[in-house]
Symmetry: C2
Subunit: 396 residues, 2 copies
DNA sequence: GAACTTTCTCCTCTGAGTGGACAAAGAGGG
DNA sequence: CCCTCTTTGTCCACTCAGAGGAGAAAGTTC
């Protein structure tokens, strides 16, 4: 199949495409209710979209008491590629234009191997999805990387945990390989977009998404739009001081949040505790696996291990301490906790909530939900698809 | 004079009014260069604005090598009232439509006396300005209060330092009294608007303004617009923890920034130091004035008093600690320090800078100016005038 | 089968906006 | 002083987006 290259010609068409993306097949009449255009003008724009092939007829809908309506929908052959590069694994997924996941692969990986090796892996994963018949090609791709990005150019800048990626033209390179438009963003921002599109943040305009994985980052959404900051490093909260004179951090300071609580820090602390004989449960797991991960701590806590629970509570306290400051400052309508450590579940959440509600003022916390993300590992790839579709479904 | 009641009829007219506000008198040709409209359309809109009386002809400009242009300008008889209510004083100013201050009064006051008493004072100050011939009436007024505001309604909510104001219909009441449109906002947000309009932040889109006065607050500007948060309490950073297990705060917690550094905290610490004989300089001033203020500390530091300097440095360190976190999170392009304690000047600034540059990552601080506000006590009233003019100069 | 609903199309009308022609007013050179 | 060039401002004809109404098409309900 030839890939679509058409783009909406004006703001109305862009608006219609997004409505069809978010609301599925729709009749002209239903679209008209949402879009504040006369029926005649609406018909003209829909017809033009049909001509471009971005939108296709989708049969007759059931009657609502009168003439049955002719539905239209986004072309079901459109395909987006969503890529979420983490510190230690990659997610690649194919979606249709309505951002439904048609196929999803996760593989372990190490970003520190550099862009060339990682790209090869991503492309072979994409090829695999294509070979399985899910897509003949891609109309657009979104990709998230675990570090700051100069967004307009789609280039990582000074990423601490991904040496070798600084200045690598991710957007340009991937666009060449795939032959389609590409947008690049920070992985946390994509997670925020994902939760906004299909998760817990669907109705929110101003919210935060705190992703606790190998590192810690925060996605910021202001007025429904992702806020990226002046140099693309907004939300980089891993190095905010959580514990004065605390543990030394790779950044050179002491007491950074990331040094006290993150997938890596938790594994380290659990290993120490096991080695010092503080927990038989953790020691057993250490012996069995030759190492400990956040998942081991979660399992131990679930099994009632007090040491594991303490580690989680202490981490939640540090995290809550930092989030409390952000809540006072930003006054969000929602805080979403996500990332690898969400396996720690409600123990973690409870510790964070306690700290935030204690430290922030009532006006800011009064009606503030603090919840776990709803989409788990798919948040990133859905956000990636959303990113590129927002780009493509905007006036040329 | 009859007050203007006209409003721009469309976005073009609003745009033109703002250009004239920010750029002063202008010819049609110059306006056309900035506005991306054909000369014919532009002429039509300018003519309509002339008809409303919002804009008036302003004679001929010098030739630029051809026919001389007919300048137009905002009606020079338009008057805005800017009111900045602080914790311990009020500023009231009159501006023209170009937001130039024509008259400015400052008087001591105590917000805790409640809205009725404060309103009376504000109205008598406004009457005084009017009586001096600066205005025959007001076309709009902006007013700032030292606490969170439900912005759309113009009503303070749960303001900690201003009991009695909770839910008081400031906008409605002032509008009735003055007979003109009124907008209400947090005093810190107005300071940010002021510095954006006429101060150090003129070219910035994303920046923070930290106001250190009786309390501490932060104005947040995102994409050129003030961000107010979900419940209007965004920027309320006074109760972020700066010192773990630090001084008890009125809010019930310990170690809040405001408990360690603010006009009130500084006066308290200086008094303690003086009483304990740590500083002869401060003790002298205490004896002379019967009390100490931030200004005394500034004077003592300027005179070389080591204790005063230490107090300032320590306060700057705490403030810098909190700002460092905000910088990591928000990645602003500029941080402005303002409010009463800016009298402490460069000693304070240096301490803040040191702490921020040490604690935040290079990508966020690399090109980040941290500067004192440029407008001093006029920032608030200019911001107030800007607030109402933004409101009036937007499509009806 | 009649009356009422809903959907969609077609046609006419309005008003925003463009762009070109032209007039007005000045600068500068020979 | 006159001619040419430049800039500014006005007028007018033309295009196109969009609104809104009439009416056809297709169903439902009684």
């Amino acid at each position: 199949m030839r890939r679509m290259t058409a783009r909406p010609a004006n703001a109305h068409q862009a608006r219609l495409l997004r409505l069809l993306r978010d609301g599925g097949p729709n009749s002209r009449a239903q679209l008209g209710d949402q879009v504040d255009l006369s029926r005649s003008k609406l018909a003209v724009e829909v017809d033009r979209l049909l001509e471009t092939g971005l939108v296709v007829a989708d049969g007759l809908a059931a009657s609502r008491g009168g003439r049955r309506s002719h539905n239209v929908r986004l072309n079901p052959e459109l395909r987006f590629l969503g890529v979420d590069i983490g510190a230690t694994s990659v997610d690649v997924a194919v979606t249709n234009a309505e951002l439904e996941i048609l196929g999803h692969i996760n593989q372990p990986m190490d970003v520190r191997e550099g862009p060339v090796a990682v790209f090869e892996q991503v492309l072979s994963m994409a090829a695999k999805l294509r070979a399985s018949g899910l897509a003949e090609g891609f109309d657009g791709a979104g990709i998230g990387v675990p570090g700051p990005v100069r967004f307009p150019e789609g280039v990582p800048v000074a990423p601490p945990i991904m040496p070798g990626w600084d200045g690598f033209p991710v957007r340009e390179a991937l666009s060449q390989e795939l032959g389609c438009p590409v947008m690049v963003d920070n992985d946390v921002n994509l997670m925020a977009l994902g939760e906004q599109h299909a998760g817990v943040a669907r109705t929110q305009h101003d919210f935060l998404v705190v992703k606790i994985g190998t590192g810690i980052g925060c996605g910021i959404v202001v007025g429904g739009e992702v806020y990226r900051g002046t140099t693309g490093s907004a939300g980089d909260i891993g190095h905010i001081q959580a514990v004065p004179e605390g543990r030394p951090c790779a950044c050179g300071n002491r007491g950074c949040l990331e040094a006290h609580f993150s997938g890596a820090a938790l594994a380290r602390d659990a290993t120490e505790a096991a080695q010092q004989g503080q927990s038989a449960e953790l020691a057993n797991r250490l012996a069995a696996n030759g190492g400990l991960s956040a998942a081991d701590v979660a399992a131990a806590a679930a099994a009632g291990d007090a040491t594991a629970l303490d580690l989680i509570r202490e981490g939640g306290r540090s995290t809550g301490q930092v989030i409390a400051g952000l809540v006072s400052f930003f006054n969000p309508g929602l805080v979403v906790i996500g990332g690898g450590v969400t396996g720690l579940g409600h123990n973690l959440l409870a510790a964070i909530r306690t700290q935030v509600y204690r430290q922030s003022l009532p006006l800011a916390t009064g009606n503030l939900p603090i919840v776990l993300g709803e989409l788990g590992p798919t948040a990133g790839v859905i956000g990636a698809a959303r990113l590129i579709s927002d780009h493509l479904f905007s006036p040329a």
